[in-house]
């Protein structure tokens, strides 16, 4: 009536459907409950503009007059609320956002960090320099006003990725116009 092959196949298919049901329930719970929000604060210490052909990433931008922002900022963030039983990692970024005439939305990540456990989820850093090139699409900064804020992206052990940003953390700053130091 029931041979070994049928029993094995029935057991296997039941195990697989049970496993995927559990994974689905886990994903659904985390999607409904969410990950809460983190308390974040950034503070701009200093912003300068320099001209160079190569960025901090050693990428060749083609002209000697390409302008890079040199930013110094403080970060205070407590990301512990984002950690629960279904948090694999939190990816934190500090993002500069601004609008220009030709490009209505510009977002440039200036700093990022991977956080894997609750113990390292409190960040207090002073005078951090931008990790990535802070250069506009036009490769020029003309008294540009920009906003600095903290964003995060939660990767679960299983389920839906969720992201958020600290709205209260955003701070305005202005790129100065480049002035060559060699007076003629």
């Amino acid at each position: 009536m029931h041979n070994l092959q049928q029993r094995l196949s029935a057991t296997f298919s039941f195990a697989v459907s049970a496993l995927f049901t559990v994974l689905g329930v886990v994903a659904a719970i985390s999607w409904v409950t969410g990950y809460g929000t983190a308390a974040t604060k950034v503070n701009v210490r200093d912003i300068r503009v320099i001209q160079s052909r190569y960025g901090p990433d050693y990428f060749d931008y083609g002209r000697k007059t390409s302008e890079f922002g040199m930013l110094k900022f403080d970060i205070d963030a407590d990301l512990t609320p984002l950690f629960n039983w279904n948090t694999k990692q939190v990816f934190v970024t500090v993002v500069a956002e601004y609008e220009t005439k030709t490009h209505n939305k510009n977002q440039v990540v200036v700093w990022d960090k991977i956080i894997r456990d609750k113990d390292s989820a409190k960040i207090n850093l002073r005078k951090v320099s931008n990790k990535y090139a802070l250069i506009d699409f036009s490769q020029k900064w003309r008294n540009q006003v920009a906003n600095l804020s903290v964003h995060w992206d939660v990767t679960p052990h299983v389920g839906i990725l969720q992201n958020g940003r600290g709205d209260t953390s955003s701070v305005k700053f202005t790129f100065p116009k480049f002035e060559s130091s060699g007076g003629r």
């Binding site: 994974l23 990433d57 694999k88 970024t93 030709t102 977002q107 964003h151 679960p156 992201n163």
Partner: protein, 175 residues
């Protein structure tokens, strides 16, 4: 097993073949239906490299969506394909410039586990990728499940063995 196969008459064989076709076409329908719902030509992908570790490892399964009404945001993990390259890449967007006049998006990506951004992976002198290169944005994550397809790609014989065994089972399995 083979005795059973011999005992089947023509009608039963035809029924089993139809059953196999049913299974294949429903799988295709589900895949294409998902593609329509998510607006992504390939809504499920398997991670092939370690460039997004520790978030994604080789063999993890990713669910993608690419809603046309939602522009790409900085921090989104995108699956994109450079023209004339076979293998799509899963990396995070670190720079984004939206052109006001055309709405065209200029994106720069980087793997979390890489030291430098992806300009070295793009075509020569290519500085940006655009939304048309983006196959989808990662929405869901499931570990290990994609290992099966990686094994089948690494050992193609395994694929034929599995297909053969499955086909034989369907053929001789009778309710």
């Amino acid at each position: 097993m083979f005795e059973e196969l011999r005992r089947l008459n023509k009608r039963q064989v035809a029924l089993q073949v139809l059953n196999i076709l049913m299974v294949l076409t429903s799988a295709l329908m589900i895949w294409k239906g998902l593609a329509l719902a998510t607006n992504s030509e390939s809504p499920i992908v398997v991670v092939l490299s370690g460039s997004m570790e520790p978030a994604f490892h080789r063999g993890d399964l990713l669910l993608l969506a690419n809603p046309a009404s939602q522009p790409v945001q900085v921090g989104d993990i995108c699956v994109f394909q450079i023209p004339h390259r076979d293998i799509p890449i899963v990396h995070r967007v670190i720079k984004l410039h939206d052109e006001a006049k055309t709405g065209k998006q200029f994106l720069l990506t980087k793997g979390d586990n890489n030291n430098v951004d992806d300009r070295g992976l793009y075509n020569a002198r290519q500085m940006w990728i655009n939304k048309e290169h983006v196959v989808g944005r990662v929405r869901g994550f499931m570990p290990y499940v994609g290992m099966v397809t990686i094994l089948m790609n690494d050992y193609p014989q395994l694929k034929y063995v599995m297909l053969g065994v499955l086909g034989l089972f369907v053929l001789i399995h009778r309710e």
